[in-house]
């Protein structure tokens, strides 16, 4: 069972094509680490899958249904959840309002409890303007969307950027919880070893095409990393 099936995906910005036909599969309930050097197209790939960037060609199937012609909000409703690069929060809204946005029509108290079950700190800060929280708390609020919305596939773009190591642990633990709940994950992560450690499959993107697909064991030697990422 394939949760997310991307085939021949082309996309980019304006006249510049960044993705030159990407094929990628995330099996249901599995975690896929997406690696690649700067400018390889990782963020563009995630944004194109989520519908924030237009796809020029190719197909995107979510649970067997083609979604490439749907707008971003429809893909979100279909069960796709992108936690974007940077801080995926509404900075000028309060924490409670952010959670209300996550929850949609769900009862706000249940939404708050669900978010607080993983990130208790959020419950103490409901009235605070989200943009004034620390980077780690902001990232927790962003990640809370993947908990609250209960999507089938979560795309996580560089969750750990700019965070203190101890906060990174907390964030990545939350990702482990998502996985334990059976969600399918596609993770872009700067800490390569940690991403590989929690992944079932590894994709390496190079210059807009998939350069390597394998299981974590296959790239343990470091030769693969040396070739595409420039370091072991």
């Amino acid at each position: 069972m394939i949760a997310l099936d991307v085939a021949g995906l082309r996309g980019g910005y304006g006249r510049t094509e960044v993705l030159h036909g990407v094929d990628l599969r995330v099996p249901a309930g599995k975690a896929v680490a997406l690696l690649g050097s700067n400018g390889a197209g990782k963020t563009t790939l995630l944004r194109t899958i989520a519908g924030l960037n237009p796809a020029r060609a190719g197909t995107i199937k979510l649970g067997g249904t083609n979604i490439e012609h749907r707008p971003a909000h429809a893909r979100s409703r279909a069960g796709l959840c992108l936690i974007p690069e940077g801080r995926g929060i509404f900075r000028r809204l309060t924490v409670r309002e952010n959670l209300a946005m996550h929850g949609g029509k769900k009862d706000i108290d249940q939404v708050i409890d669900r978010a607080a079950s993983l990130f208790p700190v959020l419950k103490d800060r409901l009235g605070q303007t989200a943009g004034t929280m620390s980077g780690g708390q902001q990232q927790m609020l962003a990640l809370a969307r993947a908990l609250v919305k209960d999507p089938s596939v979560v795309l996580a773009d560089e969750l750990s950027v700019g965070l203190a190591p101890v906060v990174v642990d907390e964030i990545l633990e939350a990702v482990a919880v998502l996985r334990a709940e059976g969600k399918s994950l596609l993770i872009v992560e700067q800490y390569v070893e940690r991403a590989v450690a929690m992944a079932d499959y590894v994709y390496i993107l190079n210059k807009g095409t998939v350069a390597f697909v394998g299981e974590p064991g296959q790239c343990a030697s470091g030769a693969v990393f040396e070739r595409y990422l420039g370091a072991a």
């Binding site: 304006g14 036909g21 094929d23 519908g51 909000h73 900075r91 998939v210």
Partner: protein, 646 residues
């Protein structure tokens, strides 16, 4: 003190209506990032529909009002958002300014075409009985106006704070892309905010109509007065906008009281909103006004086709040859039209330096033209010979151009457009009737001169004088385009930060281009004034500045060809197509065309491609061309068969 109380009451009532309009403007601006210059025109159209339903159809007042405010206003909002703006995603601020100006010009032209220019009076909607407070009689209608505005303000505040849709709207303001990721259609929410904002415009128009009369120009202008209020709210804060509107209403009413008996200050009350607008923009600290930018990542602008980077010798020589022969074919009124068209080529060429070359939308160009004409008249009356007087009239406008350039140094895009807009109206309201311009007679005469012993009294002789002057002016404009100044301005338009990082001082270039533009516009004004020999206050009013920008953007603001076409369409076309419908619909046509072509690289002129004859003769170019074609078709067929590349 008690004599001020009635004015205080009036001020609160008008301030309330301003507040309704201003809050609507702010709602649409913050959610969409598009400042709607046509906000007043939207209210005006809704008010005309209200008038027709109430007076012509005979519907009950409440029903007509409900249809206008809850039906027509929101419907126009949907059209603006879905039809006009949606396809412009990622355009520059200047593009949006031009689109909403086009809408303003088109809607006003449409209303005048349908209903005619006469003001229609309207029976009061609200009860006009009064009650007595200590020291002052208060009308119930005034109380109701204040109440409606307060309720609207409070309602909006509660809506944005507590309702689901209100929070979603604020989420779109914060980050439209992220709102999409939350599973919400940010486009739908933006459309809703346009419906809300336009419905506020409609409400303000309907409430004002009984006080002002139903008049296409007056009602459009009235919402323009609230631009000052919106700027006090930095175009983003609803409470501050409400406060600003009240301030303007009260200020206007008290100013009316204060200037009673001072003839020379008559223009002050009506100018107050624009004084506030201009002062707030000019005196604000740098960076105080931040534009709301709504650029989707996908809509990265790709390179504009290079135009106007070489001196247009072929076009210029052709034009001079054709123009030189015209007097042999034309006479009488036609020849006057030809001279006027030439004069306008210079008007548009000078405007194109700002709008086209440096992408600074200046909405006060008519000021330079008017003062060029009046200054020339004053100098001639003082006995200065014509050619020096014409040059001096141009030079006199250089400091004015520098004055307008002050906001241009610190403000960009929308806020520069607003500042120049305010300046244009201020100059008209406060200076036109002074001795610097028309004087109390509101008209100046400029007799045809004698130059170097040759009398220019005949239309043919003056035509040639205009031709020579305009050619010199146009050569100056084109020289600016192809020299370093032009390159610096283009670079500044593209990226001010990158340009400054090269060690280039942006201030000098921006001031110089405004000075050159003002100088040439004043010269053109002098020519046009001398052509008609009489200029009055309504010859070039502030509205002309808006029309000129829409026309120039339509035809192409970056090239000489665009300026020539603009002059032909604006001046010559109505004399060729003389049907009344054409003349009346001309502004509508320009408005619509500006909306359609605002994002075209170079207007109508840009749609024509000059054939590249040199490449045609080059056989290797043919081969390269066919090779590229083959590669492309290969790439297209290759897409479906892409296999797993791992």
């Amino acid at each position: 003190m008690s004599e001020y109380l009635p004015f205080l009451v009036i001020g609160l009532a008008t301030g309330s209506v301003y507040a309704i309009a201003a809050m609507g403007l702010t709602v649409t601006y913050t959610t969409s990032g598009v400042f709607n210059f046509a906000h007043g025109a939207v209210g005006m159209i809704a008010t005309f529909v209200f008038y027709s339903l109430r007076v012509d159809v005979g519907l009950p007042t409440w029903l007509a009002m409900a249809i206008a405010v809850l039906g027509v206003g929101p419907a126009i909002g949907i059209v603006i958002d879905r039809v006009l703006l949606r396809r412009l995603d990622g355009a520059t601020a200047a593009t949006y300014v031009v689109v909403s100006l086009g809408l303003l010009v088109a809607l006003q032209g449409l209303a005048i075409w349908i209903y005619g220019p006469a003001t229609r009076s309207l029976d009061p909607i609200l009860p006009h009985s009064t009650f007595r407070l200590p020291g002052v009689n208060v009308g119930w209608d005034q109380v109701i106006l204040v109440g409606i505005a307060a309720a609207a303000g409070l309602g909006l505040a509660l809506f944005f704070r507590y309702s689901r849709l209100g929070i979603q709207t604020r989420a779109v303001v914060d980050d439209p892309g992220l709102t999409e990721l939350e599973g919400l259609d940010s486009g739908l929410i933006t459309t809703f905010s346009w419906m809300l904002g336009c419905s506020f415009a409609a409400l303000a128009g309907v409430l004002l109509a009984p006080l002002l009369g139903v008049d296409a120009v007056l009602l459009t202008l009235l919402a323009i007065q609230v631009f000052g209020a919106a700027v006090i709210g930095r175009l983003t804060s609803l409470p501050l906008t409400y406060f600003g509107a009240m301030l303007i209403g009260l200020g206007q009413a008290l100013a009316t009281k204060l200037v009673t008996g001072h003839q020379s200050l008559n223009g002050l009350p009506s100018s107050l909103p624009f004084i506030i607008l201009f002062a707030a923009l000019v005196l604000s600290p740098k960076g105080f006004f931040q534009e709301v930018v709504r650029t989707r990542a996908a809509a990265v602008r790709t390179g504009r086709r290079a135009v106007g980077r070489t001196f247009p010798w072929p076009l210029l020589v052709t034009l001079v040859a054709v123009a030189g022969l015209l007097p042999t074919r034309l006479n009488g009124a036609r020849l006057l039209t030809a001279s006027s068209t030439l004069g306008f080529v210079l008007v548009f060429a000078s405007l194109s330096l700002l709008v086209g070359l440096s992408r600074q939308v200046s909405l006060c160009h008519a000021v330079f033209v008017v003062f060029g004409a009046t200054t020339l008249s004053h100098l001639r009356n003082a006995g200065v010979p014509f050619v020096p007087a014409l040059l001096l009239a141009g030079l006199a406008m250089v400091p004015v151009g520098a004055l307008v350039a002050i906001p241009a140094i610190r403000l960009s895009g929308l806020f520069l457009a607003l500042a120049t807009f305010g300046f244009g109206i201020l100059a008209q309201n406060l200076l036109f009737l002074t001795k610097f311009a028309f004087g109390a007679a509101s008209v100046v005469r400029i007799p045809r001169p004698e130059v170097f012993g040759i009398s220019l009294a005949s239309d043919t002789a003056f035509y040639y004088f205009v031709l020579i002057t305009v050619v010199l002016g146009v050569v100056a404009v084109e020289a600016v385009r192809v020299t370093r100044l032009g390159r610096v301005l283009r670079a500044l338009a593209d990226s001010p930060t990158a340009t400054e990082s090269l060690g280039i001082n942006p201030t000098a270039a921006r001031v110089i281009v405004f000075c050159v533009g003002a100088f040439l516009a004043a010269i053109a004004g002098g020519l046009l004034g001398t052509l008609t020999q009489v200029v009055n206050t309504s010859t070039f009013d502030f509205f002309q500045s808006l029309v000129w920008v829409t026309v120039l953007v339509t035809t192409g603001a970056a090239t000489l060809g665009g300026s020539v076409l603009a002059a032909l369409l604006l001046v010559a076309a109505p004399t060729v197509f003389t049907s009344a419908t054409f003349v009346k619909l001309q502004p509508v046509f320009f408005g619509v065309a500006a909306m359609l072509l605002a994002q075209a690289p170079n207007g109508v002129v840009g749609l024509f491609r000059r054939p590249d004859f040199a490449a045609l003769g080059d056989r290797s170019a043919w081969r390269a061309g066919s090779r590229r074609l083959a590669e492309r078709s290969l790439a297209e067929t290759a897409v479906p068969s892409m296999g797993v590349t791992a």
